[in-house]
């Protein structure tokens, strides 16, 4: 933001230097992605003889097809495909449910305050900050009691329960900036709680819905701890499967398959980031600063 109006020789040099430094940083951040992509497109032969940072001499998509449908995660060798779908089946309902609950909660806490609403909010907020290790053991037992152990509905439940803290926070922070007069006017117009939510607040909320959905989707898709703790062989999410592929000790180490798997696992959130980066960043800052 600070501009130098004088454009002397040293200033030009400084600016060139500045751009060089910034590009070096960009290079640093892009290097792992570059390495992942190029490695995934090389044959194992080439990986062993060539250099990490060189472009593939011969493009081959073998590693990708292996990663998708043949790679071994432990005993089974069906690739990432089933786990990719597991993650989808976990993430989509969990995102939808937790976003919806968060919207209603935020609406109540911001606009229908009652005696205990702030305390409830504080309790919810605190829930965002606990290290999940502290609930792993009882959660495993409760899932067992509910007959949900190792199941996808069980994982959905876990993600919803520990997601509503954040979703509520997002919607609450969005709704507090809406003047209370709006509700008063609607009450006088004769609308009730749900009518006001449905006709007035929900149509307003598109930006925060996008932020929340993106945040929740990223969190749930990228989750590993819950996945590894509460799933079993057939229900693992993709992060767990990826880790199993990479760390399986049987057979030859296929680095190209590892990298292809990693990219496949990263692709959905990466796409979301590229398409809706603005909302992603907003969620990130809101979720971590204001919390």
């Amino acid at each position: 933001m600070i501009n130098n109006s004088s454009s002397s020789y040293t200033n030009v040099m400084l600016r060139i230097l500045l751009y060089i430094i910034l590009f070096l940083f960009a290079f640093y951040y892009l290097l792992p992605l570059f390495v992942m992509i190029t490695t995934s497109l090389k044959s194992l032969e080439e990986i062993k003889t060539g250099s990490l940072v060189s472009l593939p001499r011969e493009l081959t998509f073998d590693a990708w097809s292996v990663a998708w449908s043949k790679a071994c995660t432990g005993i089974k060798c069906e690739g990432l495909k089933p786990y990719f779908w597991n993650s989808i089946f976990i993430a989509i309902p969990a995102v939808m449910i937790s976003t919806f609950i968060g919207a209603l909660n935020g609406y109540v806490i911001a606009q229908w305050r009652f005696k205990w609403s702030n305390i409830i909010f504080a309790l919810l907020l605190f829930g965002c900050f606990i290290p999940f290790q502290v609930i792993l053991l009882p959660m495993a037992r409760v899932l067992g009691i509910l007959n949900l152990a190792g199941s996808i509905p069980g994982l959905i439940l876990v993600h919803v329960v520990y997601g509503i803290g954040f979703t509520t926070l997002f919607f609450r922070n969005f709704y507090v900036s809406i003047p209370v007069e709006l509700i008063k006017a609607a009450k006088i117009d004769g609308a009730n709680f749900f009518r006001i939510f449905w006709s007035i607040f929900l149509p307003l909320s598109l930006p925060i819905i996008v932020v929340t959905v993106i945040w929740q989707f990223t969190q749930i898709w990228n989750d590993f701890l819950f996945g590894v703790s509460f799933s079993e062989a057939g229900t693992q999410p993709i992060t767990v499967a990826l880790n199993n592929i990479v760390n399986s000790t049987t057979g030859v180490k296929e680095y190209n398959v590892d990298m292809a798997s990693a990219i496949i696992a990263a692709l959905p959130t990466l796409l979301v980031y590229i398409i809706a980066g603005k909302y992603f960043i907003r969620g990130l800052t809101a979720g971590s600063v204001k919390g």
Binding site: P179, E181, K184, G190
Partner: protein
């Protein structure tokens, strides 16, 4: 006379703070009641209580002679216009105005007719498909009024509806609201902290301070016979001069002595039936202190004093001097030739003055 709004002994607390303190107000059909008072005195709270948006702790509110206890805002037959307009941001102007009717399940035909009627009245026909964000302040204001008007309620409530407009627009809308009131013969409660708005619109003014009603009366009464120093000071611009003075009784007449800076005190004669204490505060409006006694009116008495400030204000010129230890403003003709620092005559019309007790602040005459 049928009462549209009757407020009896209403109290309201927020936590430990008494926001409304034993409020009693009656409003008859067709009256325009203006609630004035400084910021934070409880005007909006009172309005919200009338609307049922806030609960009262004790007392009764009757609208159209029905007790409103436990009656929801939507069933009170009121309409309200807010300072921030509170237009529904995602709805068009048309939807904003018809939302209330839609929620109440009125048929489409009625909705349309009502809409047309109101929209014509407010001259916003060409705005129907816009969103609030695409409107100017004045247009938003009209839409907010429209939303209230379609309801055709027993009672209109306005919470500082003009305070977000610029000065010129404010004057325009003020006139329009007044016209509306006249055309509809509607009953209105109007909150403002702008005392000019209060004076021009009201048929009845309620002056509040710290949750306590200071005075209820017509604009004329409030302006000319303020009940206490607070009302005197708050209403009118420039505000009433408040001059410290001492009295002595002399043959059925009071002699009022006003201290002058380093000079001999000025003495004025004053007739009054009431017993005055030794120390008083004279409240006198600038227009009752003038340059010369043109009409040879006996009520005028002169005091010599130095000119401290000259403030030309177009049609008049305000002259400031020091009397009784405080600044006193007089209203002179704009042609009067006065030089700064000179000693001139100020003619006081004491028959128009208010006398206050400095201890209680209450009116004595």
């Amino acid at each position: 006379m049928n009462s549209v709004l009757n407020i009896r002994n209403v109290n309201k607390k927020f936590g430990k703070v008494n926001v409304l303190n034993d409020i009693n107000i009656n409003l008859n059909k067709g009256e325009f009641l203006v609630l004035v008072g400084p910021s934070g005195c409880g005007k909006s709270t009172l309005l919200n209580c009338i609307a049922g948006l806030e609960k009262i702790d004790s007392g009764d509110i009757h609208i159209d002679e029905k007790n409103m206890i436990n009656i929801e805002p939507k069933d009170r037959d009121i309409a309200m216009v807010f300072q921030s307009y509170a237009l529904y941001p995602t709805m068009t102007v048309e939807k904003n105005i018809t939302f209330g009717m839609k929620v109440r399940g009125l048929d489409k035909e009625t909705q349309k007719n009502k809409l047309q009627e109101v929209v014509k009245q407010l001259q916003i026909e060409n705005l129907l498909n816009r969103k609030p964000s695409q409107l100017s302040g004045g247009q938003r204001q009209r839409v907010a009024m429209g939303r209230a008007l379609v309801r055709d309620p027993k009672l209109f409530l306005f919470d500082e509806p003009l305070s977000n407009l610029d000065a010129k627009l404010r004057v325009e809308m003020r006139t329009e609201i007044k016209k509306l009131h006249y055309d509809l013969n509607a009953s209105m409660v109007y909150v403002t902290h702008d005392q000019i708005e209060a004076m021009t619109l009201a048929t009845k003014i309620v002056v509040m301070k710290d949750g306590v009603i200071q005075q209820i009366g017509s604009p004329f009464q409030i302006y000319n016979t303020p009940a206490n120093i607070f009302v005197a000071d708050f209403m009118g611009s420039p505000s009433m001069n408040l001059i410290k003075a001492t009295t002595t009784k002399n043959k059925g007449q009071y002699l009022i002595e006003i201290n002058k800076n380093k000079k001999k005190p000025a003495i004025l004669k004053y007739n009054c039936k009431e017993n005055l204490p030794k120390e008083i505060i004279i409240g006198i409006r600038p227009e009752n202190i003038i340059e010369k006694n043109s009409s040879k009116d006996k009520n005028f008495q002169a005091i010599k004093s130095d000119v401290k400030v000259i403030e030309p204000a177009g049609s008049d010129t305000f002259i400031v001097t020091d009397l009784g230890g405080s600044e006193v403003t007089a209203r002179f003709h704009s042609e009067s030739e006065v030089t700064l620092g000179s000693e001139i005559d100020f003619h006081f019309n004491l028959s128009k003055a208010s006398i206050f007790d400095p201890k209680t602040g209450n009116r004595l005459n």
